[in-house]
Amino acid sequence: MVTPSSTATADVERVAQRIRRRVFEHVMRNGGGYLSQACSSAELFATLYGRVMHLGPSQAPLEPVAFPGVPGPANPDYVSGGAYNGPRDPEFDRFIFSPAHYALVLYAALIEFGRLAPAALEAFNRDGSTVEMIGAEHSPGVETTTGSLAQAISQAGGIALGRRLKGEPGRVWVLMSDGEFQEGQVWEAVQALVHYRLDTVGVYADVNDQQCDGRMDDVMRVGSIGERLRAFGARVFDVDGHDVDALAAPAAMEPDGRPLFVLAHTDPTRGVPLLRERAPNLHYLRFSSDEERERYQHAFAAFDEEA
């Protein structure tokens, strides 16, 4: 298993490329899917699992269990998908995954880090499976239910506050997408994280300027997320989201009382330049013709040769 801090930059980069490849392969096999999210966030996931997060070994089976039913008093054996990220010991970090439609990228990352069997993707979006397309807290690697976007950061704040009350040193890492910053709840959460000096919360945001309807600037402009966050009193780093060392550096700094935000500026076509033809319709890749599918199949073959 690849463990944090022991992973060399070149290794993390290779893992990122394998995440991208695995998602691309799956998208081709399934006739479409969330590909641009893997293009933009592969280094983010690889760096979080390979460099940033201090996690223990997975507590969940490599082969995911079938859907165990929803949480409730009648379902006491419910197991959280967070178990894939290791035990909840005081010293370990916690991973809170916000943009749930990135689930395929998360599963691919878990596979590359030996926390999930490659065959798990066979169950992706299959009836009765936990390897869901959007995912909830039974899905591998998912601790909170965040498909309704912008709710993760508040839940992470509550978790961090609870851990502080218990004297636990572990940090709470949140992966977000930039579109979520259009939701008012995110700013409610940022002001609360700043107010309570919850500097154990670290947010990595995939700033790819894309959302469901297209480019963020066309759908609803938020301007500079970094400037807004700084105005709220957060500690902000704008970095190249494909540069592993730049991504990892802020996490290595001593917390200073402010919640940490690493804004990873990314290219949603990274590794698959053919996607640029579709811009700004990058949210979900669906082939409009056999011809288009064929061209992506060629792109995938070329990707394989590069990788």
């Binding site: 929803v70 949480p71 409730g72 008093p73 909830a136 807290e137 909170t144 239910t145 965040t146 498909g147 309704s148 709710q151 950061i153 508040s154 839940q155 992470a156 704040g157 509550g158 978790i159 961090a160 506050l161 609870g162 851990r163 009350l165 218990k166 008012g184 709840q185 409610e188 959460a189 002001q191 609360a192 107010h195 309570y196």
Partner: protein, 335 residues
Amino acid sequence: MEIVNRPHVQNFIRWAADKPEVVVLSADLTNSCEVGAWRDTYPERFFSLGMAEQNMLGFAGGLAREGFEPFVHTFAVFIYRRPYDQLAMSIAYPNLPVRLMAFLPGITTPGGVTHQAIEDVAVMRATPNMTVLETGDATEVESVLDVAHAVDGPVYVRFLRGRVPRLFPRTEPMVLGQARVLHEGDDVTVLTAGITTEEALRAVPALADAGVHATHLHVSTHKPFDDPTVLAALRRAKRGVVTLENHTIVGGLGTAVAELMAEHAVGTPLVRLGLRDTYAHGASQAYLMREYGLDAMALVRAVERLTDTDTGLAEDDLAKVRVEEVHSLAKAEAL
């Protein structure tokens, strides 16, 4: 009748003393929700989250995941109406032990439509994993804490504050899923909850004096709604059933009773008294109860219609209505 001034204030402080896992979250209505003294007693367990309820419910969910028992205190409308998605996804779906202390139920406030929670029971009943409680007097305000504390999952509580009557002895605390039988009779069955119980207590004895005998049940658990005492009382009614609720008649107590009657083939008429699919507006509780037909006289008239009786009862024949001052030291502001 004993009137208790702000029963929650000291009771909650005492109750939480040996429960370090209990934390309070507040959204800028701390004194209005009677937890100002609690904050001063346990400052390390009190968290002001500001006017930002969506985030507050997320924080509550996160704290509950870490083993804490958050008691969210704010007005009901700012719990179930404004941040419903957060309530459903960050608290109810994961079945977390968050206690939602919902103040100003129904028309108990002159704050008008924005502050009156008139469909909260309907929304909370429809929310999976949610237990729904309503306090009707000082004893229930005090004992609902134990009831909520014992539930494995989220609990929504319609909470009373300020000057609260003590209708039930301290020795008879609220019990989950157990209605109180306050009067017995075979003609009709009357079910009330929250502040409407006090109204029925004015009407039912007068009806008995006039020859119409009611079984009167006070309901404090809206969900689960499977109390055999309730079903037995519904079956007992020869002429019909009346529900009286401080809520719209869609989705609340009246609907729960209708569902139970239909499922068990209880073939008798049902009259649902409450807000008739309408919003209310800002005015005193006594005025609104009369205006919208939630008071004792509305109950008398409904029973008369059901039983085809003219009791001759008028307002003066009933026990005097208890009118609360809008401006009172028992409330932080007139809301």
